[in-house]
Amino acid sequence: MIKGTIDKIAGPLVVADGMKDARMYDLVYVSDYALIGEIIELKGARASIQVYEETGGLKPGDPVTATGEPLSVELGPGLLTAIYDGIQRSLDKIREEAGDWITRGITIRGLDHEKEWNFKPVATESMEVSGGEILGEVPETEVIVHKVMVPPGVKGEITWVVDEGMYNIDTVIAKVKETSGETRELCMYHNWPVRKPRPVAEKIAPEEPLLTGQRVIDAFFPLGKGGTACVPGPFGSGKTVIQHQLAKWADAEIVVYIGCGERGNEMTDVLQEFPELEDPKSGKPLILRTVLVANTSNMPVAAREASVYTGITIGEYFRDMGYSVALMADSTSRWAEAMREMSGRLEEMPGEEGYPAYLGTRIAEFYERAGNVKCIGGDRNGALTVVGAVSPAGGDLSDPVVQATLRVVKVFWSLDAKLAYSRHFPAIGWLDSYSLYTENLKEYYNRELGDEWVLMMKEAMALLQREANLQEIARLVGAESLSSEDQLILYTARSLREDFLHQNAFHDIDTYTSITKQKIMMEVIMHTNGEMEKALHAGVSPRELFTLPLREEINRMRYIHEDDISDISAIKEHVTMQINGLIEKEQTA
């Protein structure tokens, strides 16, 4: 323990004197309130500390104690269903202790140390183990089995394992004789410093898509399991709704949702909705696979900086168990702003727009913690997919945070304010967005959906792109004066936009579309396009063609239940019938 005294206070930055032996990023307790902070700069015996709680009322001369440990999280059973603040204090416990407002100096551990869990050993005595090896299993929630692992860095022979039974997380459940000859007692949890990535055996390129049930994403801009994506957009363009939709419907086994500097009511929404919503796969409440980290915009700014690391460390921990984890961070801009604020208080030389020069490095390091991996300590694979929302100033994509993020992520979902204003949601612009995973995932799609899928998507995308060009001309000369082929392009592209890309997150059925249903929907649209092309060649007038009642039926596809998919396929025949009707009429005339 190193003890010093406060010398200077400026907002969340406190400078302490007498801290000669302290280390960078050590956790410190500030003043008699025991406010939690972290050392972010050392100059001689003076340490600059970012304090995770309000600093009002602190005085020079107040004591500062360094713990000698870096800021860490507790990893073990009890993480799921929890809601934490930025430094892994459980918000429900804070409420029990302090009431409806968050007051200062509350110390709460990340996990419940009293609760007993049913531990079932997997490892046996005299087994040689190393970090990551599974010691035993705990049914943490109805849907997730928590795998208790040997902490990374421990290596040796198991000398003793506890019998199956109910234990709290402080109980020793195994003993390992390390190669140094020392015996390590292991319990169900261990601590891990948040700023240090957890080790993996090997990283592999993503091979499977993270299916989200969102048509524009799954079909056009898919995200690989273990990949990274970013959603930048101005306010009101639906970033948060997209993040919520992913948290709800993504086919990941574990979801970590970080509300970083965002609205309090949004977190409340998640908290109230997730226990009620059912996971389409397990039929169990979504909350059972979710960990929430909430540091709303009015909570201390320094803890906001820590919240993304807290979240991703928890994500990595579940990945190490062999699960597919999806992490959503909303919004990484607030995290970057927290960095900027601390940097300003430290009087560092600013980079672009006042952001610190190391902004790009920090962002890259964060996204690099994602990945499809071979886990350490056994033969299993896990994946950590990271989706970050970015809130650029004024919606301007030249914002340093957007640019630094785009350099590292592989999927870019560009939110278009114009789409949002015309209430086309999700407002992911199809012309600017991209996914660099389409090649990696081709094999998966060919296997699951047949070779035609990828080709069909390319064709649909080409139509949408030609529409963008044609629209400009149509604006000048009127759509009616275009050639009938071009009019058909406009017609089909409109159908793609309105009947496929547009998706209502608040409609019971439309909110989630399985990839099988997506394929059939797309087939109907493209089939219609093909039939219409034939009809135009046969001399049917575009006006007659485009006012056929089939339009309405195609528009209703999205509301057809997943169980009645055959009803959608049937539409194809209705389309052919109606169009053939016109062709025949034309030929007899």
Binding site: D7, G57, K59, G236, N265, D396, E552
Partner: protein, 468 residues
């Protein structure tokens, strides 16, 4: 223990640097006695082992280095609260504000730190009660709910004050006659604007249920930093301890942000965009996030902050950061204002993020969501047709486009526009929506659930709308 110092070493702008201080704490309240006996107030902005940097609320004119006495009061900035506040007008520091209020100061029930504390997200209750404002453009399209923060983005010369006063006058939760009050915070607005609000409140009897905090354009700019916090502290007391439903109107947030910039500049901080400090987002959040509802408490705080966008630019840092914190925004449009449409609500760019939970069966009506989506889509298509008509001439439009064009015109004239004292209930608003949609062919109703459509617009009997 009061400690008095005459060791001022520097005065610059609204800041005062006091040397050789001891035992002074961060954010402590300070009292400065000028040589002529006048008392000013301030707070500690930064402190190290010997120096305290003090921010003066009333500005530094008349202060001097050698004779001004600086007293540290050992507490942070506080507001005395009590139910007696209702019907009163205070200045930016919580004292009765002449000439609007000449009564003696209130007897506080208790003193509360004006900075408040963040509401634990776990303790929040999701806002879901529909507030009827009587404006179709708000109730039907960008529905306000209790506990929401929904700013009005306006521009100079637009009637935001009239809109805000009308909301304050008409806003009600339907079917309940609960305790309702308005807390009004004026920051740097003119006497005339302030007078408009006060007179409007007085003439409609709303004044008895209002608490006003007023910092006018000629009042000290730095005081504006505490004005909204004073108002919100009063609101929190009334909402969470006295079970009242509070509507907080704050105008004009742009002046607040400019005051913040003034201090940041005086401190020689590294400026962010347009000279505003890098922590503007965090600072604004500490105000806006004080709206909400809390589980197990009856009262609520709904905020309507008003800001004027410099040059009507929505990407200016103040509206931009506000939009990222608040749950939507109501944008007033100069174009509609010029067309003499009141309220000149730009419904396309406006948004209420919480509306989905506040509308529907049992709240407004079952058809509300579909109707809203369809109206928005139709208006958007109508505006596209209007653009097209400018290029091609209205005659060259397809019959369908002409229908949309007509729809957009009617929509603005009849749905958005309404009288300054016209209070439409939600049924009137919704029925008006259906009436307008019938200007369009029925098969264009793609956003409406077929069953719903059949209920409000049966298929038979409207066959003649074919032919696009």
């Amino acid at each position: 223990m009061i400690r008095e110092y005459t060791t001022t070493v520097e005065i610059s702008g609204p800041l005062m640097l006091v040397g050789s201080v001891e035992g002074v704490s961060y954010e402590e309240l300070v009292e400065i006695e000028l040589p002529n006996g006048e008392i000013r107030h301030g707070k500690v902005l930064e402190i190290d082992s010997s120096m305290a940097l003090v921010q003066l609320f009333e500005g530094s004119s008349g202060t001097d280095i050698s004779r001004s006495k600086v007293r540290f009061l050992g507490k942070q900035v506080e507001l005395g609260v009590s139910v007696e506040m209702l019907g009163r007008v205070f200045d930016g520091q919580g004292r009765p504000r002449a000439p609007f209020d000449t009564a003696p100061p209130i007897v506080p029930e208790k003193m509360v730190n004006i900075n408040g504390a963040p509401i634990n997200p776990y303790a929040r209750d999701y806002p879901a009660e529909f507030i009827q404002t009587g404006f179709s453009s708000i109730d039907g399209i960008n529905t306000l709910v209790r506990g929401q923060k929904l700013p009005i983005f306006s521009g100079s010369g637009l009637p935001h004050s009239i809109v805000a006063a009308q909301i304050a006058r008409q806003a009600r939760v339907r079917g309940s006659e609960e305790n309702f009050a308005v807390v009004f915070a004026a920051m740097g607005i003119t006497f005339e604007e302030a007078d408009y609000f006060i007179r409007d409140f007085r003439s409609t009897g709303a004044m008895d249920r209002a608490v006003v905090f007023m910092n006018l354009a000629d009042d000290p700019a730095i005081e504006r930093i505490s004005t909204p916090r004073m108002a919100l502290t009063a609101a929190e007391y009334l909402a969470y301890e006295k079970d009242m439903h509070i509507l907080v109107i704050m105008t004009d947030m742009t002046n607040y942000c400019d005051a913040l910039r003034e201090i940041a500049a005086a401190r020689k901080e590294v400026p962010g965009r347009r000279g505003y400090p890098g922590y503007l987002y965090t600072d604004l959040a500490s105000i806006y996030e004080r709206a909400g509802r809390i589980k197990g408490r009856k009262g609520s705080i709904t905020q309507i902050p008003i800001l004027t966008m410099p040059e009507d630019d929505k990407t200016h840092p103040i509206p931009d950061l506000t939009g990222y914190i608040t749950e939507g925004q109501l944008i007033l449009s100069r174009e509609l204002h010029k067309k003499d449409i009141y309220p000149p609500m730009d419904v396309m760019e406006s948004l209420s993020r919480l509306k989905d939970k506040g509308i529907g069966e049992g709240k407004t009506r079952g058809d509300h969501a579909d109707l809203f989506n369809q109206l928005m889509a139709a208006y958007s298509a109508g505006k596209d047709s209007r653009e097209l008509a400018v290029i091609l001439g209205a005659a060259a439009l397809s019959p369908l486009d002409q229908k949309y064009l007509k729809f957009a015109e009617e929509y603005e004239k009849r749905y958005i526009s309404q009288g300054n004292h016209e209070n439409r209930n939600i049924e009137e608003t919704l029925d008006l929506g259906w009436e307008l949609l019938k200007l369009l062919p029925r098969e264009e109703m793609k956003r409406i659930d077929p069953k719903r459509l059949e209920q409000y617009w049966p298929a038979n009997g409207s066959k003649k709308t074919e032919g696009s």
